[in-house]
């Protein structure tokens, strides 16, 4: 590929670099480095095009880069969905959070059955508690849940506590829990 004949301004380049570094740091935890690189490349292209079209981006601030990155990320998601490909290698996150040895066939069957029962029990929770419990079970901390939903810490703790108690009751009825399955 030819070198960029009209690079974006050094100030904007620096801004983009800092932005990219932060996004990568966050995304790496979830195994999304490849997707982030795609998004950042798209942001760079869009900024370059904006400059080529005469738009004044030299003085663009961080929010301009942010909005461009959000739009690029949304477009990336749309394109992947449209291609009906494996969207974002959904095994990556699990690979990070569940570093366990390969199960035996018998263990796999048992695990699969337990998984189904857990999902069934979660489905039975009230609509207010269910998303909170799901998020907790997916590995998010209580303060992350509160922040995402804009809830106070006590409210989040209360709903999560009640939701988990309900879930344990349902799992117990299915024979999973203290004295039930491991």
């Amino acid at each position: 590929m030819a070198t960029d004949p009209d690079p974006i301004s050094p100030a904007l380049e620096g801004l983009l670099a800092r932005f990219g570094e932060t996004v990568r740091r966050v995304a790496q935890r979830h195994g999304l480095a490849g997707e982030v690189d795609d998004v950042l490349q798209e942001v760079r292209i869009r900024l370059w095009r904006a400059r080529a079209s005469g738009e004044r981006i030299e003085s663009a601030n961080a929010s301009y880069v942010y909005r461009t990155a959000v739009t690029a990320a949304l477009d990336l998601i749309r394109r992947r969905r449209a291609r009906k490909e494996d969207p974002m290698d959904p095994t990556t996150f699990a690979a990070q959070t569940t570093a366990t040895a390969d199960p035996t066939p018998a263990q796999a069957v048992e695990s699969s059955e337990t998984m189904r029962q857990v999902e069934e029990a979660v489905e039975g929770l009230s609509p207010t508690r269910r998303p909170v419990v799901r998020m907790y079970l997916a590995g998010y901390r209580q303060e992350e849940i509160a922040g995402l939903l804009g809830w106070s810490e006590p409210k989040t703790r209360n709903l999560l506590y009640r939701g988990l108690a309900d879930l344990r009751g349902r799992l117990g009825a299915l024979g999973i829990g203290p004295g039930g399955a491991p």
Partner: protein
């Protein structure tokens, strides 16, 4: 079964759960609304419920979350910043011996006339535990740099019975909001021009039938 074991089982299942037809998944814009906390809470809860049960949507959500986190100036989402301020304000309240009690529903308040240092948004009237005034207004102090305030009234089950956003520092609760006999709480969050947020503590409120 321990929480850790439950989480491991759920995470394993989540990684394998991706619908064959993504048409059932929320639109990318709905995922962004969830990340940016825009739109009705009920809608965002529905989206979150799906996202946390769908491996494909969860990864898309994380991508948008990473971008949003960086866009706010650091990897820490804005809500964590106001959560930190709220925690600091709560700690100050404890040190001042205002009488914070362990039960969350009985949380005490800083003196509304003196305000509170540490960045928490200050509620003015009605005082903690009072009945909604006859003119049905809720008032709070202006937060420097705030462009919008979101007010929520929560019932005893922590569900929002009323929520509204305004650039002003006072709202009038409409007559259509009917209060029962139980306890209520209200709080205000301020969104600032730089994208950061400040939040008040929860304040108890008795309804006006």
């Amino acid at each position: 079964m321990t929480d850790e074991r439950l989480q491991r089982i759920y995470a394993d299942g989540l990684a394998r759960r991706a619908p064959a037809d993504r048409a059932v998944c929320p639109a990318p814009e709905a995922l962004l609304a969830l990340v940016e906390r825009e739109g009705p809470e009920a809608t965002r809860l529905d989206t979150l419920d799906h996202v946390m049960g769908c491996g494909a949507c969860r990864d898309e959500f994380e991508l948008l979350r990473a971008v949003a986190g960086a866009g706010r100036g650091d990897a820490r989402p804005a809500w964590r910043r106001w959560a930190g301020w709220a925690a600091l304000a709560a700690a100050i309240t404890v040190v001042a011996g205002v009488g914070l009690v362990a039960r969350w529903g009985d949380r005490a308040e800083p003196d509304p006339l003196r305000g509170v240092s540490g960045g928490a948004l200050v509620l003015v009237t009605p005082p903690d535990g009072d009945r909604l005034p006859a003119d049905r207004t809720l008032r709070w102090r202006a937060e420097p740099g705030a462009v919008r305030y979101t007010i929520e009234i929560l019932d005893a089950g922590d569900l929002a019975v009323y929520a509204i956003a305004t650039p002003d520092t006072v709202i009038t609760v409409p007559d259509s909001v009917v209060f029962g006999r139980g306890d209520y709480r209200w709080w205000v969050r301020a969104r600032k021009a730089d994208g950061s947020e400040a939040a008040s503590p929860l304040r108890r409120l008795r309804g006006r039938p």
